[in-house]
């Protein structure tokens, strides 16, 4: 009446005469097991650019006149230690690892800050990529091994003498081209 099985649970239980419905169900449950897993992916666009800071700030009550240079390579420092109270614009790029890209800065006359009674021309746009020295002609740019790169853009404000205190606003474009 007793038999020794060479195979495993299902066959053994049936051969021993335990093939009633509940026993069969139990045997099946022990004979195989299913494990579920998730699969996931994040599809990214070819490139993504985000502006994280505007160029500008508060010139305050100082009798500023002439050229005010905003150096994009200047490190953050207490306001009292800064040569200019203005900060550069900041951007972050994301894309393919090591992807080459080019930056095009505004040219002379491309940007003027407008106030209620006067304007402030902006010239001499420069960029600092990844903390490198400022340049008006960036080249040989690539995203880092993680596919990221930050850069800052500064310029020179031509502030006329006796400019009325007010808010002066303008826009400029920086173009990023990926090869």
């Amino acid at each position: 009446m007793f038999r020794t099985c060479g195979s495993l649970p299902v066959a053994c239980l049936c051969a021993a005469g335990l093939a009633s419905a509940p026993a069969s169900a139990q045997a099946s449950a022990q004979a195989f097991l299913v494990a579920s897993a998730n699969a996931a992916v994040t599809i990214l666009s070819a490139t993504a650019a985000a502006q994280t800071e505007d160029l500008g700030g508060d010139l305050g009550a100082a009798n500023v006149e002439g050229e005010v240079v905003v150096d994009p390579a200047a490190r953050e420092a207490p306001a009292s230690a800064r040569k200019s109270p203005l900060r550069p614009a900041a951007y972050s790029l994301a894309g393919r690892k090591g992807a080459a890209f080019a930056l095009t800065l505004p040219g002379p006359g491309d940007c003027v800050l407008a106030g209620p009674l006067a304007t402030i021309p902006i010239t001499g746009f420069k960029v600092s990529v990844g903390g490198a020295a400022a340049t008006a002609t960036p080249g040989g740019l690539t995203l880092d091994p993680k596919g990221l790169k930050d850069f800052k853009v500064g310029a020179s404000l031509q502030v006329a003498k006796g400019l009325p205190r007010s808010a002066y606003i303008g826009k400029f474009k920086v173009t990023m081209s990926f090869n």
Partner: protein, 180 residues
């Protein structure tokens, strides 16, 4: 008629005597059975294709369960910051028992998200840190301690970037282990 009745009575009597003669006999028999440990499988990591940049054409990304570099096809299809990784499992069961591992069939699993569904095909597995073996069914054995590990990879097919909307895509799949 009477003669037949008497003969039958004698026969019964002799049979009874014979039965009394075996009252001290002993017969032994062996009882054997085999107890097996239920097979179990537990997922320890999900299958991730990481970050992928869609290209100018459709393409594929293949995650290898044995640890080979993630492969891509298609113009411009490339990998992002977050790396891909195979699904991982642990098993327990009978020492050294042979088992079958059944992976999803082609066309049975896809990941869904903001754009066209991303089908998964060509599921593969690497058991115990061994070489990659193609599915959908493969045979392996538990180790002498009754444990085993395996990883599962697959290939996903994405459309060109103009069609494959960026965003997160997810899906789920089953693997089945059974004693042989």
């Amino acid at each position: 008629m009477n003669t037949r009745i008497i003969s039958l009575g004698i026969t019964v009597l002799l049979g009874s005597v014979a039965a009394f003669g075996q009252t001290t006999a002993t017969a032994s028999a062996n009882a054997t059975t085999a107890i097996y440990v239920p097979i179990t499988v537990t997922k320890t990591a999900d299958l991730s294709f990481g970050d992928v940049f869609a290209g100018s054409t459709s393409g594929t990304v293949t995650v290898d369960p044995a640890g080979a570099a993630t492969a891509t096809t298609g113009t411009g299809v490339s990998l992002g910051v977050h790396a891909a990784a195979p699904a991982a499992y642990t098993m327990t069961g009978k020492d050294s028992a042979s088992f079958s591992l059944t992976l999803p069939a082609n066309g049975s699993v896809s990941m869904t998200g903001p754009g066209p569904a991303i089908p998964l095909t060509a599921f593969t597995a690497a058991v115990g840190g061994g070489a990659t073996t193609a599915g959908p069914t493969l045979t392996a054995a538990l180790a002498s301690g009754g444990t085993q590990t395996f990883k599962v990879g697959a290939t996903m097919t994405i459309a060109a970037s103009a069609t494959q909307t960026q965003g997160s895509y997810t899906g789920s799949f089953n693997v089945t282990v059974t004693y042989n």
